[in-house]
Symmetry: C2
Subunit: 253 residues, 2 copies
């Protein structure tokens, strides 16, 4: 039985709490959050607290709070011989400033409270300074997911920035697509199949192979027509991404 | 029975030929292509030709060739009282220069010969100058897809540019994600679940609601760290999309 304590009440904490409560061989002994109200609904299932002095004994303390606060909160954990991990993609293991042993437990998914997630499909990147802790994290990871990776801090930071491109930026392009549809009284749903197909394609073709469209062909007539239909901000994005696509294939010729 | 002739041998022609050969109440009477070799495999199923003078009688002639050549080929079709349509998202109905009646039959999907497609899920945007032709195209569309839309040329052009954002540009961001992974010796597969989730989310949340990440939060510390890990081209894209996301949410505050 692995005893776990979660610190945080945001989206990651919410989903991780849910799955750990349901997972065999894991005991979620406590959830901490600065604002008790956000985790009050958990009282039926586990202990909740808003005081770091009242943290219970656990094997792993999982810090699921915003990147900016990880250092501060970790400094306040004054126990030793336990494992403290954070769940951030962009923060190194060294930014944990506690006396305890250190690790990282990064869930590579975009969480919203409104959407259920299938943990079995979520890649988990784990890392620890001690071999025994690495094994403990591997065990924890494998108990909730089928995709567990031992990843060092530099690699994890690169995954985090790659995820910004394929998640945050991609979603923003969906937003622009939606804006264009709204302006022209076209239902956004009309784009859903191509969005899904574009995402599905990369499992059988590399994105380099899957690329199509006027930028790759340098179809300047179409490029000009498109530009004329866009707002200034959309034009800037269109121009830069078109240039980047064109250069990518220009280089390969 | 609707008699159809397809002109072209590219990806769209390939998939459309395949589905029409299988569809009840449709007779694919002929496929034309400039280079006969590319459509020779169809000889077993239908008539093939590389001569526009030998086109057979049909109800609908579907031009599936590159945008730049639509005008030229349509000029060479010198029959009347038939329906000639093109399949381009970005070309107006008026760019068909034939004597015959005109229409558009736009399949809103990204086609590769290597990937099977489920036509039932593909949005089809149809348009015709004559009411009776509109009805004919509607019938043809409904015989292969469950998502048929009557869409005028201006709307269709806007869909086409929106599709560049959500398909061509999104795929290029996947490519950048892949490049970052390769450079850091991380398997690109690690990003597949977040890519799929990002695409799936927009069916329950608007992209505006689904947005997360450092740009939206204006998390300048993370933004700086990310910039430092990128090539110059990646940095430019990162900066511009970050600014666009930040402005989108700045405006809403």
């Amino acid at each position: 039985m692995i005893k776990v304590c979660i610190l945080g009440g945001g989206n990651v904490a919410y989903h991780l709490t849910n799955i750990l409560l349901k997972t065999k061989n894991i005991e979620l002994v406590q959830v901490y959050n600065r604002t008790l109200n956000h985790i009050k609904y958990l009282e039926k299932f586990t202990s909740v607290t808003n005081s770091l002095n009242q943290l219970k004994e656990a094997d792993i303390y999982i810090i699921c709070i915003s990147d900016n606060c990880i250092e501060t909160i970790s400094k306040k954990l004054n126990f030793k011989n336990k494992l403290v991990v954070h769940t951030s993609g962009g923060i190194g293991i060294d930014e944990l400033k506690c006396q305890a042993n250190k690790g990282v437990f990064y869930l590579l998914q975009s969480f919203s409270k409104e959407r259920a997630v299938n943990f079995k499909e979520i890649p988990i990147c784990y890392e620890a300074t001690l071999k025994k802790d690495e094994e403990l994290l591997e065990k924890l990871a494998k108990s909730i997911s089928n995709h567990c990776y031992k990843i060092n801090s530099n690699q994890r930071k690169s995954i985090h920035v790659a995820a910004v491109f394929v998640n945050n930026f991609v979603n923003h392009l969906y937003h622009i697509g939606n804006e264009i549809c709204k302006k022209n009284k076209v239902p956004f749903e009309i784009l859903w199949p191509i969005i899904k197909e574009t995402a599905a394609k990369i499992e059988t073709l590399t994105p380099l192979e899957a690329q199509t469209g006027p930028a790759k062909r340098n179809d300047t007539k179409t490029l000009k027509k498109h530009q004329a239909m866009l707002t200034q901000n959309q034009q800037e994005i269109y121009t830069l991404l078109t240039k980047s696509i064109f250069n990518t294939y220009g280089e390969k010729l």
